[in-house]
Structures are given as structure tokens and as C-alpha cells.
Amino acid sequence: MNKKGLVSLISVLLGLIAGAIFMLITGHNPLEGFKSLIQGGTLNLERIGNTIATATPLILTGLSVAFAFRTGLFNIGTPGQMLFGGFCATAVGLTYNLPSGLLVPLMVFVAFLGGALWAFIPGILKALFNVHEVVSSIMMNWIAYWVVYYTIQGYFKGNMETESRLLADTATLRAPWLSNLFGGSYLNLGIFVAILAVIIIAFILNKTAFGYELKSVGFNRHAAEYAGISVNKNIILSMMIAGGLAGLAGVVQYAGNANNIQIGVMPSQGFDGIAVALLGANTPIGALLSALFFGLLYSGRGFMSAMTGVPPEIADTIIATIIYFAATSILVERLLDKFVKSRKEKKTQSAALTGGAVSSTDNKDENYGFMPPNSSDSSKNNAKKGDE
């Protein structure tokens, strides 16, 4: 296993330990808690289906963040892009009365477009005016929040103040055969959208010239520019594709897992995407796996709460703690390096004891800085003399 994977696993472990500590502090048994958390997500086929369904939007938002990361961009605008993409899809689904085979692909397409549009603005601001994409994306999040809020309230209001009208069954990603296969779970066609997206993004990143350009912009903007790669074009395209992926998460969430759009809340899946990407080491497959893990935490928490009385927010707390540890992974890496180093040293020591003489020329080179030690000493002495 590579080092990044190991660091991710350690972050997860630390997050779980933190969760256990919180459970202990609040007077619950962590072992019982985790047991029912896992049971809640995997006990039967229906629960497994629900876990996968919960993970679906996370796969897409995680992919979105990871993709932008590879171009050196931090897409913190996933909640807004997801909301706006989902909103566009819902609006289309509620307005047009088409056969399902036509309407659903149209909705998916529109969602991608909506998300891409929402990410286009931070992208072009970054490319043309060098406006930091994090700040502009945060602004775009809240613009999406209010635009969707008032448009839904004005034109698509449902029974409740805070949600849109329900989508007809022909306008959702739900498929009875898939649902029945998993014992009546709300698993839907969205998972295929997500898997397809993972494959396409992995292909783009690893096998195409475009992906290579994107990654080289991420590694070093200036070197990429020097090599004749259009940095600005790649920044805009990367943001748009990332936004489109987040938009897909929107259609999967609002027209798949649910069948209407909620207003007055930022979709938490958006920010969770950051966690998914970090944990997945910014690779498509990594995002898929870590999204499934988070899906398990989210779908099992209700069962855990009912069985043990641990509040369901423990899942969110664990995920947030994992992000913190992933962000501070340098600490973990340092410890790992130390561990590896000390093992190596032991090996070399034992080698030195058992056998050949170690040449000392390597060490000598290290002591020399920019100047030989003697000359720097003498200059110091001179300076001192001058002072006197």
C-alpha cells in the first residue's frame, strides 16, 4: 500500500477514536455504538442498498473536489453547484411532461450544465482576474442558496414552505427493479451515473492529453505555461467539469434519493465532498471507496441512534474530525517517517556491526553548507573583532 493510502487509513482511525471518545464522554458505550452503526448500514439487503444510495451523491461531490484538486484548484463551491444543478433538473422535471426515457437523461444533462455554469464563474474569475476560487465559490454557494430558495418558493412550491412540489415517478432516477433487487431500498439509477462518472474521470485524468495538461497545471502552473499549456483554459475547464460533477450529485440527490428539493439548507453532501476527496487521496477510485465508507456512517446512524441513544450527529462529527486529521496529515506523515527512519537506522546499525565499514564521505558532504565551515568561522571572528 502506498503512503497516501496509509495516511488516509490513519486519519479514519483517528476520527473513529475521536468519535469513541465523544461517545464515552456523553456516557455511551462506544463499542455498542459502532456495532449498531455498522449493523444499521449493512444488516440486510435493504440497508446495504440504502448505504449505497446515500453514498451516491457523495461519490460525485468527492469526485468533483478531487478533480479540481488535481488542477490545483480547491472547489469549495460544491454545495452551491450541487444545489443549482439539482434545482435545474428539478425545474425541468416539474415543467416538461416527456416520456421517462427522454426526460431523465435530459434532467441529468441539465444538472451537469447547471453545476458547470455555477462553477464557470469562479473559474473565469480565477483565470482572468486571479480571484481566489475559494472565496468566489463561497459567495456562489450563497447566491445559489438564495436564488434557489426564492425561485422554488415563487414557482415550484410544494405542500410545505421549505420544499418543492414532488416529482412524478417518470421524472426521477428511481427504478422499481433496482429497488426490489435490494429489498425495497431507495437505491436508484443514480449509482450508475456515479460509477460512470468515476470511470470517465479516471480515464480523463490518467489516459488523455487533456488530463495530463490538467495535472501539470496542478503541479506547477508556471512550468505548464512555459511548456505551452494554456493555463487559463485548463482552469476554467477543470472548474466547469468539477461543477458539472457536483451538479450530477444534485440530480442524484433531489431526483433520486429524494423526489423533491429542500430549500433553506445547504446540502451537506457538498462539504462532505471535501472529506471524500481528501480521504480518497484525490483519485477517482479513492473517492468511490471513501464515499461508500461515509455512506455507511450516514445510513447507519439512524439505526444506531434508535438502538443505543447515541445522537445521530456522531456520524457528522466523525467525518468532520477525519477531515481535520486529513488536513493535518503532515503530523501523521512525520510520525510515519520517523518510524520508517528509525527502523532503517536500526538496520544500518546492525549492518555496520556485522559487516563492512561504512564510508564516511557521505557525512562530510552534509556538513558543508554553502561555504566550508572554517571560512564562515573566520568571518565571524573578523566581525567580532570589528565590533570591538
Binding site: F22, T26, G27, F74, I76, I121, L125, F129, N130, V131, H132, V134, V135, S136, I138, M139, M140, N141, W142, I143, Y145, W146, V147, Y149, Y150, T151, M266, F271, I274, A275, L278, P311, E313, I314, D316, T317, I319, A320, T321, I323, Y324, A326, A327, T328, S329, I330, L331
Partner: protein
């Protein structure tokens, strides 16, 4: 028209003050060279801890009003302590400050609801009485200005304004302020001049945590009246105000007032027919749009601290 202004003025101020104090803290943080995306989370932490303190104290001492002051103080302290997480990650570990800030936001919103559920059963903590309004003697009788500023004003408003003046003075007129700004502009030069960059940045982050916590507390006792797991995006709005105010104390005062009035007008536009002509959505997205516009306009001549967001590495030039 005057009547409308007189009516919405107190609400606009109540909206402005938590934004102002949070943005002021963030100003110190960014001026010291650390980006703080976690303002929203720090406000949530502050809001939660003051709600909890007031809730428990009011149970023990029903009817007394000093509990609110203790609650605000608790928000200040807990906010400062919580921001240590961000400080440690971004200063000692040189972590990505944006990710660390995002983690702060997520931890705060999850952990507070988790704890609130453990304590009160539901995720909400409702206060039985909120902060009282205060009429200044004499001053409130001044025509025009009196009713606007000195009638029905919260004590916290004046507290925050005093803090603003003191900390503007500290930022521009004291050695500490100069050093702090130096760490945000050119940490290596500051380091070469013998300033402990890490310590300055710690001060900036902790101050930001304390002020954001206080902002969350003020939001609770004047504006919300109930803790329900969030602060309605006030933290992000404060971040917008910081940028729109171009990292200057009186700039952010103007920006937060601007945002406060825009949001208040959109909130009351359904009630007041004179304002109903402007669609509320325009007013709601207004702060964010003008911030985007400001980012573009000032992109060439931005006053942003130059080293903000960059971890300070002693050996790197």
C-alpha cells in the same frame, strides 16, 4: 421614508453587530497571515456555548439578567479555545488553511448539535429571555439621532463599537499591531527583524476565535433567541464583509452596515409595502454579488495581506 428607516434601523444594527465583531476578528487573523474560513464554525461554537451557559444558569437563577453576560463571556473563551485547533493545524503543522477551516466549520456544526441533543434531548436550546434593550438617558431625547442610536439599543452594540475602536488603534498605532501586520505581509522580513511569527499568528487566530465566538453569542442573544445548530451563514457573510471592506477596520464597518441593511430590507420587504417593489432575492444575494464584484475590481490593487494563507517556513525564502 424616515419612519421606515426608524423602524428597520434597530433590526439592521442587530444584524450588523455580530457580523462586525466576527469580521474584525478575522481581520486580525488574516492580517497575521492565516486565512480563516472557519468563521462560521467558530460563531456556531460561540452561539452554542453561550446558549448552554445561559440555559443552565437561568435554570439555577431564574429571572436574573446577568446570566447573559456570563454566557457571552463563555462564548468568547470557548471560541478562543476552539480556534486553537485551526492555529495548531495551520501554524505548527503548516496544513492547508482552507481545509483546516472547513474542518472547523464541519466539526462545529456537527459537534454542537450532538452535544445539544445529549443535554436537552432536542438539538435546540431555547433561551427564556434575551438581552434587554437599553434607553440612554438624555441622549435618546436628541431629535433624529436620538431615536436611531440611543433608544432601544443593545449594550452589545456599544461594546462592539468600543472594541472596534480599541482594536483599530492597536492595529495601526502600536508595536504589536505593526508586527502583526508585518507577519501577514512579509513573514520572512518580520522573522529577520526578530519577531516571533508563529506567536503573532497564534495571537491573530485566537483573537479571531474569541471575536467570532462573541459574535456567535451576540447573534444568539440579540438576533436568534434560540440555538438550533447554525448561525444562518453569518460566518460566511462576515468573510464577505472582510473582503468587501478590503481588510481595513472601518472598511468592514461600512461593509457590515451595508450588508446588515440589505438583508434587513429583504427580511421586512413582505411586511412593509413600500419596500415590496424590490424582489427579496436581489437583496439577499446582494452582499455576495457585490463581494464578487469587489474581488474583480480590486484584483489588481487588492489590499489583501500578501502572505495570507501561506504557511511560514523558517528555512524557505
Amino acid at each position: 421614508m424616515w419612519q421606515i428607516i426608524e423602524q428597520i434601523f434597530p433590526y439592521a444594527i442587530a444584524y450588523t453587530i455580530p457580523l462586525l465583531i466576527t469580521a474584525l476578528g478575522a481581520l486580525y487573523c488574516e492580517r497575521s497571515g492565516v486565512v480563516n474560513i472557519g468563521l462560521d464554525g467558530l460563531m456556531i461554537i460561540g452561539s452554542f456555548s453561550s446558549a448552554l451557559t445561559i440555559f443552565l444558569l437561568q435554570k439555577a437563577f431564574p429571572g436574573s439578567s446577568w446570566t447573559i453576560l456570563v454566557g457571552l463571556f463563555a462564548a468568547l473563551v470557548v471560541g478562543a479555545l476552539f480556534s486553537l485547533l485551526h492555529a495548531f493545524a495551520s501554524i505548527n503543522l503548516k496544513a492547508n488553511q482552507v481545509i483546516s477551516g472547513t474542518a472547523i466549520n464541519m466539526i462545529a456544526s456537527a459537534l454542537t448539535v450532538f452535544l445539544a441533543r445529549n443535554i436537552t434531548g432536542s438539538g435546540n436550546i431555547r433561551l427564556t429571555n434575551s438581552l434587554g434593550k437599553y434607553n440612554w438617558p438624555l441622549l435618546s431625547d436628541i431629535p433624529l439621532i436620538g431615536p436611531l442610536f440611543f433608544k432601544n439599543s443593545y449594550a452589545t452594540t456599544w461594546l462592539v463599537l468600543i472594541i472596534l475602536i480599541i482594536f483599530t488603534f492597536i492595529l495601526y498605532k502600536t508595536t504589536f499591531g505593526l508586527r502583526l501586520r508585518a507577519c501577514g505581509e512579509h513573514p520572512h522580513a518580520a522573522d529577520a527583524a526578530g519577531i516571533n511569527v508563529a506567536r503573532m499568528r497564534y495571537m491573530g487566530v485566537i483573537l479571531s476565535g474569541a471575536f467570532a465566538g462573541l459574535g456567535g453569542g451576540i447573534y444568539l442573544v440579540t438576533f436568534a433567541g434560540e440555538f438550533n445548530g447554525g448561525v444562518a451563514g453569518f460566518g460566511f457573510l462576515a468573510l464577505a464583509a472582510l473582503i468587501f471592506g478590503q481588510w481595513k477596520p472601518f472598511g468592514i464597518l461600512a461593509a457590515t452596515l451595508f450588508f446588515g441593511f440589505a438583508s434587513t430590507i429583504s427580511n421586512v420587504s413582505q411586511v412593509l409595502p413600500q419596500l415590496a417593489t424590490i424582489p427579496p432575492v436581489i437583496l439577499k444575494i446582494f452582499p455576495y454579488v457585490v463581494t464578487l464584484v469587489a474581488l474583480v475590481i480590486f484584483s489588481k490593487s487588492s489590499q489583501a495581506p500578501k502572505a495570507s494563507g501561506e504557511p511560514f517556513d523558517h528555512g524557505k525564502r
